[in-house]
Amino acid sequence: MNTLGEDRGRMLRTILAMGSEGASRALSRWLGMDVRLTLGEVELVDLATAAGALGPPESLVAACAMGLTGGLGGAMLLCFEDRDGLALADLLLRRPVGTATEWGEVERSAAMETANIVACAYLNALAAHLPTGEGAGLAPTPPTFLHEFAGCLIEFAVMGQAAELDRVLLAGTTFEVVGSGDLGWTLLFVPDAPALASLSAALGGPA
């Protein structure tokens, strides 16, 4: 599948937006504030374009990386620049934003717990709108914390698609606190090639 037809693209966007809504509710409860996740473009891009999905490929980003288990394979990444990720840790630890200046054990743990909550809620919402086969048991693996070149993270995450496809699909979601603005976090959902084919078939397109 090297193109995303208009109908199939719209349906995929609709179902991923439901994932974002589910994650919005869970994250709002977790942080104790009204947080909204907004799904960005859902499109197939070539590998070189994908490498810039988190900003300049050589920039360093913090990320909580998770695989998918259950009916779909692939990866999810919750990514942030250091400042934005450390601000998350401060929020969760009820400290003034700016208190954390480096990724210690507590800060990493806060980021990974948040990633787990967001990914579980996203996948639960997705599973609820997929046929039983694809949705059954869909869950993230425990998160791995990484401090990595943005381009390398993307490269690894898309490998499950790149092995079989010339173009890859990335679904990026951004976060904002309602009334306060962008949090600077990005959630990437990257199904592997078989999962993309399953999603496509489930949405009525050719596998």
């Binding site: 070189a48 990595e148 499950g160």
Partner: protein, 165 residues
């Protein structure tokens, strides 16, 4: 690190390759992909291929993506630049092939770094191109830079100091 910060640098995107002559340098970012640096010391010409997968299985649309098509394409471009045969003149240095995090159980990314390494080494052996240095495997990304003036390759890891191989 390279001692001429003003030297032009060519960046190689994933699944592509590039050839430069000194004083220019060539670099790429690597995760599970393998970077293949080939160097002609006499001509002070070098090239870098960013190999994504081991085997093209006959797919010729993206030659830079696969080890079995990228390495011949890289050599052909070097021969164009030096205007002659590269046979017996080239040496190689390799980097990359990391396994950065667990993905889905069936995801080939789990082992693709190792498969890329094996494919690249087998192809270079068949072409009788000696491998002078390797910086392979592990769990982190790499920024790889080749200086064709010297054949030196620098590797930088996230947040770490650069090292020469």
């Amino acid at each position: 690190m390279p001692n001429d910060p003003a030297a032009p640098e060519v960046t190689v995107a994933i699944g592509r390759w590039a050839v430069v002559a000194a004083p220019a340098r060539v670099r790429t970012l690597l995760g599970s992909c393998v970077g293949v640096a080939l160097h002609d010391r006499a001509a002070r010409v070098g090239g870098l291929a960013h190999v994504v997968l081991p085997d093209s299985r006959g797919d010729l649309d993206q030659p830079g993506k696969y080890a079995d098509t990228a390495i011949p394409a890289l050599i052909a471009d070097i021969e164009r630049v030096i205007r002659g045969k590269a046979s017996g003149r080239l040496v190689a240095k390799l980097a990359g092939g990391a396994s950065m995090f667990a993905t889905g159980a069936e995801n080939p990314a789990r082992n693709i770094g190792r498969l890329n390494q094996d494919a690249v080494e087998a192809i270079l052996a068949a072409l009788r191109i000696p491998i002078l240095a390797r910086d392979l495997g592990g769990e982190g990304g790499r920024n790889m830079t080749l200086d064709p003036a010297t054949g030196k390759v620098w590797i930088r890891s996230p947040g770490g100091q650069g090292r020469e191989i």
